[in-house]
Amino acid sequence: MTVATREDSSSLPEPDTAPAAPAKPLFNRSIKHTNLPDDPLAIIEPSKSWSAFDRRELWAHRELLYFLTLRDLKVRYKQTLFGVAWVVMQPLLMTLIFTVFLGILARVPTNGLPYPLVVFSGLLPWTFFSIAVTGCGYSLVANSNLITKVYFPRVLIPAATVLARLADFAISLAIMAVLLLFYRYVLHYQLAFTWRLAALPFLIVLLTLFTLGLGMLVSSLNVKYRDVGMALPALIQLGMFVSPVIYTSNIVPEKFRAIYFLNPLAGIIEGFRGALLGERMNRFGLGVAVIATIVLLICSALIFRQTEKSFADVV
């Protein structure tokens, strides 16, 4: 349909290449163009098939990560009546329910530890992991208005989701500390606060990275295949029962334990419990978790980068 216009256009004069003399600047913020860089500041071209994240670009957008995280937190607590109280209530209620049914009625063996502490120390990492991964699943789709209108490294969206949940995690950790002190000094339980507590920062980093890895993966897959988001809650629920969240790995028969700890979350959660309650950690499980986290992070970063290019077109 453009043939005629093409001919028309050939008769048009060459583009007005000489720059229009800039009108007298009204503001002192007017800019001079005398020193354009020799090399382009940015090049836009089809990206190579597999590439890593551009660290310089991520660093340049660090403030956006902060604001996106802040938005996530503020929005969630502004809409609710009790705000932050929910973050406190949710794990406490879960702990109460599990204590009644599994601790008191079903008498799950706990190696002599108070069941509420056992279950809370499991729910602490688990709640963070499950809510963050579920949130990541929908994060890109939910932020399609940003993705189709502005450029920024897309990975900031799942990353902000994970970071916001990390803030909730910090609150839960504080509750854990209160519970521990309560059991130790008010109820006079024999709780050993050991050097294992020093492993806590390492475990938090490990859990966060593992969650981020899985979060990136599910968020990017959900852009293309919406059934990932559908399947996620069911899978997460399943994950809770194959991980030592509401029970300890002691109830798993010895011969199956190696298989059991192939689940990286099993090692991490038992690690948290070990650090907080002074129990032994499963070294094999932790080793699996470290390796799984590294592999997962590399794979999902590559997949994320690969699918990132088409987010704006398909979301």
């Binding site: 216009t5 048009l12 090049i43 089809p46 604001f67 852009v223 077109d313």
Partner: protein, 443 residues
């Protein structure tokens, strides 16, 4: 006034042979994972072959090349679907080109809408920081300009109120004032900025002139030929994804306007991926109908003409106002009309809708009219789609009588030609001779 940098000029943007392909048809993105997996497992070879098969591909941009010098203000014009938005999205790095290369020698800020990322639950203050960060402003810069932004928006009293309580005008003013304080060397602007009330449009326009006078480089995508000719010295015309004209605005603009008759009187979208819209609503078809209900390019000036919009509402519970925008062949924005029926002002259930506006006979002037079709929500203002130049029709006067022409056959000026009631009173005046003044009279 001679410029220092004449001659040895280097472009600030260099676009070389950029093409963008979209895949449609079988390789749809939202097929289920199961299908994708089973297909990959069962027919790996066929899948690979299909990948290289290009029959289901459409080229939104073909081999686009141009350069922009620092300080230039360039308009990118073209009809709906010519590739303007795609070019804008590639320049803004929202999507990648399939081929070609763009070099940017200055930092680029792009505004494809105002208030991107605004969250209704957050206060004005919080949204300024969030929106600023999304647009790429460092926090220190936002803090530095904060007072200026608030002052410009004229909503200082409500700055700590959640944005969901704002009127649509307040919302837009705040959103625009953040955008207006963006300070990049190259500014990429989409015409959707030109929404809102008349005051606000004037404010937008003045701000753009101010930015231009600052010596900034601007790429401006628009349909509004008045704005384009006033703001830009140079225009690039895209048609069917390719650059068909590049030169002084008035010449390119007239090349564009002369091609107006190519816009059809009926447009349908059968593929949801091409249809304008979002997750709330999508446009399905727009048609020009005569009083008899026929789809037609030619419309009798004496008879009503109906513009019909068929759209699919995908999410229930939104207030959706269909509206049409009318431009004449000189690019003058004649009027906009929206559905005022109570049913159009309350939340709608999902489903297919068809809305028609009837423009009375003897109202439009002769000539070609281009119609833009949009669907928006009023509070807060959200434009779900705005398909510009989606259909066109020609209003003709057959000179058979019954039109506003009466018996006059010559050219009639004016952008509209309404039939209006006239009243005349006659009083016999026997002293009429007093008014009969001879040519020689000195009075």
């Amino acid at each position: 006034m001679p410029t220092l940098f004449e001659g040895s000029m280097k472009p600030i943007i260099r676009v070389s042979n950029v093409s963008k392909q979209y895949r449609i048809g079988k390789n749809q993105p939202d097929r289920t994972l199961r299908e994708a997996l089973s297909e990959a497992v069962r027919t790996p070879i066929k899948r690979l072959r299909q990948r290289s098969h290009s029959s289901e591909a459409i080229w939104a941009l073909r081999d686009v090349s141009f350069e922009v010098q620092p300080g230039e203000v360039v308009a990118i014009i073209g009809s709906n679907g010519a590739g303007k938005s795609t070019l804008l999205k590639i320049l803004s790095r929202i999507t990648e080109p399939t081929k070609g290369r763009i070099e940017l020698y200055g930092n680029v800020g792009s505004l494809l809408e105002v208030g991107t990322g605004f969250h209704p639950e957050l206060t004005g203050r919080e949204n300024i920081y969030l929106n600023g960060a999304i647009l790429g402003m460092p926090r220190s810069e936002i803090a530095h300009k904060f007072d200026e932004i608030v002052e410009f928006s004229e909503i200082a009293r409500f700055i700590d109120t959640a944005v969901k309580y704002y009127s649509s005008g307040m919302y837009l003013r705040l959103a625009f004032s953040v955008s207006a304080h963006l300070d990049p060397e190259v500014l990429i602007l989409d015409e959707v900025l030109a929404v809102g009330d008349a005051d606000f449009q004037i404010k937008c326009f003045n701000k753009m002139q101010e930015i231009r006078n600052d010596g900034r480089t601007i790429l401006f995508v628009s349909h509004n030929m008045q704005a384009v000719t006033r703001l830009c010295k140079r225009a690039i015309l895209l048609s069917d994804g390719a650059v068909v004209a590049d030169g002084p605005t008035d010449m390119v603009a007239s090349a564009y306007l002369n091609s107006g008759l190519r816009v059809p009187p009926e447009r349908e979208w059968n593929n949801p991926y091409e249809a304008p819209g979002n997750e709330i609503a999508r446009l399905r078809a727009v048609r020009v109908r005569t009083a008899e209900g026929q789809v037609s390019r030619i419309v009798d000036i004496r008879k009503p003409v109906g513009i019909e919009m068929e759209f699919e509402v995908l999410q229930s519970g939104h207030v959706l106002t269909p509206n049409f925008h009318f431009y004449n062949e000189s690019g003058v924005y004649l009027f906009v009309t929206g559905d005022l029926d109570p049913s159009a002002r309350s939340a709608r259930p999902a489903g297919r809708y068809s809305s028609t506006v009837w423009i009375p006979g003897n109202f439009l002037a002769e000539g070609t009219l281009r119609v833009g079709s949009a669907l928006s929500s009023p509070e807060p203002v959200v434009v779900h789609f705005y398909a510009t130049d989606v259909v066109a029709f020609q209003v003709v006067d057959t000179h058979e009588g019954g039109s506003v022409r009466g018996d006059y056959k010559g050219p009639m000026p004016g952008v509209i030609r309404p039939e209006l009631p006239w009243t005349t009173q006659y009083t016999p005046n026997h002293q009429a001779e007093q008014w009969l003044v001879g040519e020689g009279s000195v009075l």
